[in-house]
Symmetry: C2
Subunit: 201 residues, 2 copies
DNA sequence: CATTAGTTTCAGAAATTACTGAAATTACAG
DNA sequence: CTGTAATTTCAGTAATTTCTGAAACTAATG
């Protein structure tokens, strides 16, 4: 590995983490190196940096591209391909979430929906089905929130996260205010959803 | 596999998903079976259900326990150990998140903090360090939100998620109201954070 | 259109991870 | 204690995943 100690530490750790999240160690390291590099890098520079085979880098880059985690660049008077990571780190998180949703969450939801259509052949199956219904609803709840929030610009998203559960306080406050003209309390929407669940189960 | 077609479908899919998230196929299947079972199950029942070796189940159960994903039960007049998954499915998500945070996020934060203390030996390192700083801040932002929200009871959490980005609307509304007495707009906290970032970079 | 730089593919090798059966351990009952 | 049921450990094997080098492909260059 021809890397400064700092980047090396980072790359090794990131590779380790990658391997716990379904990405191979080397691909994780490759991403770390690209992420930390001030300039776009070509495949040979990555080979140089990590001491792995050229073909391995080629495959890794291909994988990173399918995850939308790197951008392809071309430098003038150089026909090699250069790669970078997005400048806005939140974009990275968004792309990652988007891709995992597409690959893992959506198929799971679809399978759970299918199962909900079948009719159970035993008491145990009936229970299993109800349980899967719970899981289906939970995933929908989470992805619904995600879809909603995903659209926000980085600035707004950060504001929302910083707020965290303090929203509750503001909601109460809003309730106190809006209750005056006799409108519905804001907990309503959530409770409505919960009730819907029971019909399905 | 001695399972109803419904649970079998579920278990196979869940095993597949598990393997993409750093859990072995079999452990994923084991969890699916436990999750879908109306009654607590003992190790031999899982062996029976999935057709894997007894020792494999033993190890799998141990792993699930280290993740806090199963509860141990004892039935009267039976000294075998029985296992269940929590009734509240949100508890499962919480435990999972908690454990992953402990194992992956916290060490990463700690490493990033260490790197921030070092002094860079080159321009490239300087950039790398700034980049890691961005990552550090992002993770802290996310885990801060998580820590905050994690404490909420299931009901409240669902309400919050259902609200999603609509909070923004309410914030604006709140701003309009609280601006009257001349107090600060609520975007403040987030923007303050962002500025802090730049000092570090 | 031949040469060459750059990239990808792919079959087999290497490394890692998962699984098994046998032996060891634990923990309870008589 | 002794015997037995339940569980765990672990060394070896099987299966899977990752990685490599050689060959094939692609496309720009003179």
């Amino acid at each position: 590995m021809h890397l400064s100690p700092m980047v090396q530490t980072f790359a090794l750790h990131f590779g380790e983490m990658g391997s716990r999240w379904g990405i191979s160690r080397t691909v994780g390291q490759m991403y770390a190196v690209l992420f930390a590099s001030p300039e776009p890098m070509n495949a040979d520079q990555i080979v140089e940096a990590l001491g792995v085979s050229r073909s391995n880098v080629s495959m890794g880059l291909k994988e990173l591209q399918t995850w939308n985690l790197v951008h392809l660049k071309h430098l003038p008077d150089d026909r090699r391909e250069y790669f970078t990571t997005p400048d806005d780190i939140w974009e990275i998180v968004r792309n990652l979430a988007e891709e995992r949703k597409k690959r893992e969450v959506d198929p799971t939801l679809s399978l759970l929906r299918d199962v909900m259509m079948q009719n159970p052949t035993s008491e145990a199956d009936k229970y299993a089905q109800a349980r899967m219904g719970e899981m289906h609803d939970l995933i929908e709840q989470l992805t619904g929130w995600y879809d909603d929030v995903q659209k926000l610009e980085t600035e707004r998203l950060i504001a929302l996260l910083t707020l965290g559960s303090k929203v509750q306080k503001i909601l109460e406050m809003k309730d106190r205010l809006t209750l005056l003209p006799g409108s519905k309390p804001s907990g309503e929407t959530a409770r409505g959803r919960k009730e819907a669940r029971k019909d399905t189960a």
